[in-house]
Symmetry: C2
Subunit: 141 residues, 2 copies
DNA sequence: CTCACTGCAAAGGTTTTGCAGTGGG
DNA sequence: CCCACTGCAAAACCTTTGCAGTGAG
């Protein structure tokens, strides 16, 4: 995944979005922070270099980025939303100790699930996507 | 899963919890509503027969039930929490159209995943549990 | 230039907290 | 009886919204 400022500008304009400093900063923050940050962590991160960004703006931009498939929400069983800038097909490792969420990419697994459910045919339901949460602990925890 | 009032009383006292009318009502509501309700739906449901229950109480009781493994949080990418009274190992079908979440029990799938990851051995991570979200649409949607 | 975007501040919705009073064991 | 639990109300949070002003194309 390419992530220089120039490449962020390109991603935005490819989607027909105006390339504003705020949008660049938010995408850049998500990429740099890496660990599926909350809106609040993104806001704090950006304010270090750009103290004037409004939190309302961050939420609006995140919605826009999600609509335009540049960012995904990460599902958790907490009530604070977390965001993910990796748009490749992947799953997540959830640490139940420290709340860290790490990407887990595994094409073989996707193939396995796809095949399994093709034969399974759940009645009355049409599958679009799988999201596997792998919960456990990192050794360092 | 047994769910009469008497059985609910037993579940509570087995965990060493005081058997209060509020706790019974909340567990009973979750079982009866079935469809992974929000706290708000639980509160409305209970108030029909017990108008005096405080919403703070419901949240406190839900936390207690979760700590004592009588209820689980359901993972979603929304900011409202949903609750699940089915403590058997199972996964969920998520309808992206109508927000319905339905239980999906499949021991064969659990076996498949268990075996797959036993050989896989993710470095630095110790797996405790899998949660598979199966996203799609019900035919009626 | 113009319309989409931002900043600001207020409002909305959900969940948590503190405390006095109650009731289950 | 006593301590855990409940009701009530306020507060804390996170997120959304409205609007006037700004700036990207």
């Amino acid at each position: 995944m390419e992530r220089t400022i120039e490449q962020i500008r390109n991603k935005l304009s490819e989607k027909g979005l105006k390339v504003t400093p705020q949008r660049i900063a938010i995408l850049d923050a998500i990429y740099r922070i890496g660990s599926h940050p909350t809106a609040d962590i993104i806001i704090e991160y950006i304010r270090r270099s750009n103290p004037n960004i409004a939190s309302g703006t961050v939420y609006k931009v995140l919605d826009t980025l999600i609509e335009n498939k540049l960012v995904k929400r990460v599902t958790t069983d907490r009530d604070v939303m977390r965001y993910d800038g990796n748009m490749e097909k992947h799953h997540h490792l959830y640490c139940v100790e420290c709340d860290v969420i790490e990407d887990y990419v595994d094409d073989e697994l996707d193939e396995l699930l796809k095949n399994y459910f093709e034969n399974k045919n759940i009645k009355g339901f049409h599958i679009k996507e799988f999201v596997l949460q792998i919960k456990g602990t990192f050794n360092k925890c």
